[in-house]
Structures are given as C-alpha cells and as structure tokens.
Amino acid sequence: MSRLVVENLTKIFTLGFFSRKRIEAVKNVSFEVKEGEIVSLVGESGSGKTTTAKMILRLIPPTSGRIIFEGKDIWKDLKDHESIKDFRRKVHAVFQDPFASYNPFYPVERTLWQAINLLEKKPSNKKEALELIKESLVRVGIDPKDVLGKYPHQISGGQKQRIMIARCWILRPFLIVADEPTSMIDASSRGGIIQLLEELRKEQGTSIIFITHDLGLAYYVSDNIFVMKDGEIVERGHPDKVVLEPTHEYSKVLVESIPKLYRKLEGL
C-alpha cells in the first residue's frame, strides 16, 4: 500500500521586486513511498532535495503538483487545526544539525515532553509519561539517567540525534523524513543511527525518506533511490541498478567520483 504519493511536484521561487527572476528549485518530481519502505533522495547541494522534503513536511507550499499522504492531499485536504495536528503526529522530521534541533536553554528531554503532548492518547499522569520517555530512551540505546535533566551542550551529537529518534518511538509516526541525519556525527556512531531507523521500520512498518548527498549511505539502506539534479529526478530505481549500472550522465559521474574502499579511483 502506498503511504505517500508525490505527483508532478514543482516549486518555483521568484526573486526580485521588479525584474522577476524565477528559480525552479523542484521540477516535476513524482515518486511513491510504500508502507515500510525506505527511499533516498540523493543529490548535491542545490539539487532541490531539501525543498522537496520541506514540501512533504508541509513547511513550504508547492507551486504545483500534489502530495498525497494516506489518501489525502496534504496541501488541500487538511484544513482545520485538528487534521494538521494529526498530520504532524504521523509525519516526523529528523534534521541534519542535532545542535540546532534543541533549544540550549531547556533540558534535552523537553523535546520528548513535547512529543508526549502531541499524543492522541496522553498518559494519565506525569509518572506514566516519564516512564514512556525512559522507555523510548532505552529503545535508542541511551541510559535515561545519562541524559535526563541535562542541557544540550552536555551531551554528544550522536546522543542528540538518538534522542530525536527516541521521539519517533513515542509518536510512532507513519513516515519519517530524515534530512542528512548522519552527516554531522562521527562515522563510528553513524551506523548506530541507521540501525535504529531500520529497527523502527521493522517493528512498526514506518516508511522513511532519507535526504542525503551520501550515495554510500543511500545504497546501503534504501529500497529505492532517486538521484536528483537541478530539481529533477534523473535516475531512479533499485540501489544495485542506480549504483552499478547508472544510465544518466550525471549519476555516472557521481558514482565514478565517489571514493571507494575496495577499489581505487582511476586517473589519480
């Protein structure tokens, strides 16, 4: 069953007051995400992948095209506050910079309390809510007493990103949009974050959209890869097809230039 359908999505930014300059950030993008599927949007900076993610997250409106989540057009059919809140419950974002996702003046668990407030069936008292928070932290491999009551600067980037995923265990969203979730943390803890997201998908059938410039990561985790260039999807398909037999000129260059571990680049 498809969870998210993106049809002919286009976003044009107009700049300037008199001389209207048009920038087509996203051009006619269509794809589909099934239940429990992990897909990756891969592209360099400026390829339109983050703009696409923002439209899916209902943060900026598209110029044209449709985004259908669970059978509803998220920009036309969600009208009242309640349905938008419901959408926010079901779609969750994990951003690139774990340092910017937290307010430095509040303890880190505030983001988890906010998640509890979003829940449809709220826990009956504070103690139960705290149990839920602790449970979610354990799920992401953090000992609750290591982070509860601490401020963002007192914990590491990897831990911050893990707490963002702990939110997902509380909210149990249908779809996670993860925008470069591992690019700011050390390679050795990167795998842990990916494993957590894979677990979520396995246990709850969560669909995940990875937004990344790292084709290695995309190749490893995805069921489907979409390579974006200048706002368009230029290559799509199973990771093996995209990486081992790319057809578009751009994806060919991209795959060739990526440093590999087991073979050397040519012409150095």
Binding site: S45, S156, A187, G192, G216, A218, P259, L261, Y262
Partner: protein, 330 residues
C-alpha cells in the same frame, strides 16, 4: 625502503590548562619516509590535528611538547626540529621544509586580500625576491589547473574547490619536502574531492613535495592515495600498516570497527553490513587505564585493563598496539 625524512620519538603533546592537561598526543613514535603518502585516520578528538601541529612544530600555548623529540632531515642531515625556537621554525622550516594545508583551507584566505599579496608576504618573511616568487606562483597556479590571472583576484571570487587549489599552490611555491593536509577534502563535493586528490598526487609526481601526510576521518578518500596508514585512538597510535594490508586484514579491534563503519556504494559493503563501535571516545583529561580502547573493545581481557599494550611489529610492515597479538595475553 626509502630513506627516513622525519622521525618522531615518543612525543607527548598536551594542552596544559590551569589544573589539568588534555593528553591529545600521548607517546607517539613513527617515521615518515621519503616519497610516501601517509594517511592518519581516527574519530574526532583522537588527536589527529594535534599531531599535525606537532609535526609542523606549530606549538602554541596551551599546547606544550611535554616529552619526546622530532627530527627532520634538512640538507642531508638530521636536525632536531623540536628544539628550535619559534623564530627559527618560521624561518627555516615553514614553507621551505614543511607546509600545511589546514582544515577548512578554503576559508584560510582573507576574502578581501588579493591572492598575490600572500605571495608577497611569503617573499618578505623568507627574504626572497618578490617578483621571482610571483612568477613561480603563476607557474604553480597553472600546474594545479588554475589560470594565473586568478592571482590578481580576490579569494571570494573563486569557488570552494578553486580556493582549495589556490591554497595548495601558494603553500608549495618553495618546494617544501613535506606537505601536511588536514581534512582537506571534507568540505568539498565528491567531484572536487577527486580533482584535489589528483592535484596532490601530481605535485608529488613532479617532485614539488616529497612526502604527504593526509589527515582525515574519511577512510575511503585516504585509501585512494595512501601508501601507509596510521590509525589513532585517544591520543595514541593503535596501528600502523600499509594500506593494502590493513584493508585485507585490519589487526586492532578498533581498526576493524572503524573500517566496518565505512559506507561506500560497493557491493562488498552491502554484503558485509554495518557494524558499530559501542560507546564514545574517552575524555583525554582522564583516559582509561591500560589500553585506552578497552571499555569499548569486544575482545577485552583482564590484562587490557591494567597494562598498556606497546606498539610492536607483528608482521613485516605492520605494527599494532594490542595484547591479542602478544604472548602476554594470559
């Protein structure tokens, strides 16, 4: 085997703060040979950048060389560069013998100072003819694939990849023997990364620089050019080996973990899966007893908690600091 260009003997470089010391490089010994590329890899905070400061003798308070010596071959004979004064280092070493392309080199240039001005500065500080040097700079710009006209321009007019190449061109005008590159490619996209690696290898082939130290956390990148590799963990070298050997069979458990966390678009990687090193690197003010990796090590033994393993040769060309490879394991 080539001749030794630089020898580091039991160097300990600490950041001395008021009450405590951060032991960023703690008892490191190795040699750099002529005509080789050495990669230095490790997680953030393992002492990689401090090591580059140590080798280039860029030791400024609070960083202090507590113990150990650094020797470099200058004009055919070894000199102890760790006992030179800062003035001497500036005059004799920097630019001529050792040069460094620092982390985020693309931002190392002041955007509003023309590139030619940096060449003038270089001429002044080494008391050289400015005009001649400028001609050399023009030639070097061409060699790294930049139009010499760019010398008259401001850095902000160049793209990131071009700026990186401009920095390396200016840094190598005086044909230094050793080039230290500290995370030079991490801010570049893959296409520019490849161009940069190409330029680096070209400079080495042309004999502009003899040896290169490439410091990075990106193993897949350093793998492309390195002959040997040094793996650092918590201020110590845990393994030194040739690139091919370490790829085939990493010895230290940390090296294994590090290599298995690399994700590149290759069928081998998809097959082997991804593994994680549990825990986080230790605090270097108060590092763990014994082997510093023991709290995170999957093969930890009693001896690891009490005694520190020495870095010793276990196979030809491979040194490792781990009790798994010594007789004292019982």
């Amino acid at each position: 085997m080539n001749e030794v260009l630089m020898r580091i003997e039991n160097a300990k470089a600490y950041y001395k703060l008021e009450k405590v010391s951060v032991r960023a490089v703690d008892g490191v010994s190795f040699e750099i040979f002529e005509d080789e590329v050495i990669g230095v890899v490790g997680e953030s905070g393992c002492g990689k950048t401090t090591l580059s400061n140590l080798i280039s003798m860029n030791i400024l308070k609070p960083l202090t060389l507590v113990e150990g010596k650094v020797f470099m071959k200058i004009d055919g004979k070894f000199e102890e560069i760790s006992s030179m004064s800062r003035e001497e280092v500036k005059k004799k070493l920097w630019g001529k013998e050792i040069t460094i392309v620092p982390q985020s080199a693309m931002n190392a240039l002041m955007p509003t100072i023309r590139m030619a001005k940096y060449v003038e500065h270089l001429a002044q500080s080494h008391e050289l003819n400015g005009k001649e040097l400028l001609q050399k700079a023009e030639k070097r710009f061409e060699e790294v694939g930049l139009n010499p006209l760019w010398l008259k321009r401001y850095p902000f007019e160049l793209s990131g990849g071009m700026r990186q190449r401009a920095v390396i061109a200016i840094a190598t005008i005086l044909n230094p023997k050793l080039l230290i590159a500290d995370e030079p490619t991490s801010a570049l996209d893959v296409v520019n990364q490849k161009v940069f690696l190409k330029v680096l290898m070209q400079l080495k082939r042309m004999g502009v620089v003899r040896s290169i130290i490439f410091i990075t956390h990106d193993i897949a990148t350093v793998r492309q050019i390195a002959d040997r590799i040094i793996v650092m963990y918590a201020g110590k070298i845990v393994e030194i080996s040739t690139m091919e050997k370490i790829l085939q069979r990493p010895l230290h458990p940390y090296t294994k973990g590090l290599f298995n966390s690399v994700l590149t678009p290759e069928p081998e990687v998809r097959r082997r899966g991804i593994s994680v090193i549990p825990g986080t690197p230790p605090n270097l003010i108060n590092p763990p007893s014994g082997c510093r990796f023991h709290p995170r090590c999957p093969h930890v033994m009693e001896v690891c908690k009490e005694r520190e393993p020495e870095l010793r040769e276990v196979e030809e060309g491979s040194k490792v600091a781990c009790f798994l490879y010594s007789e004292e394991r019982t």
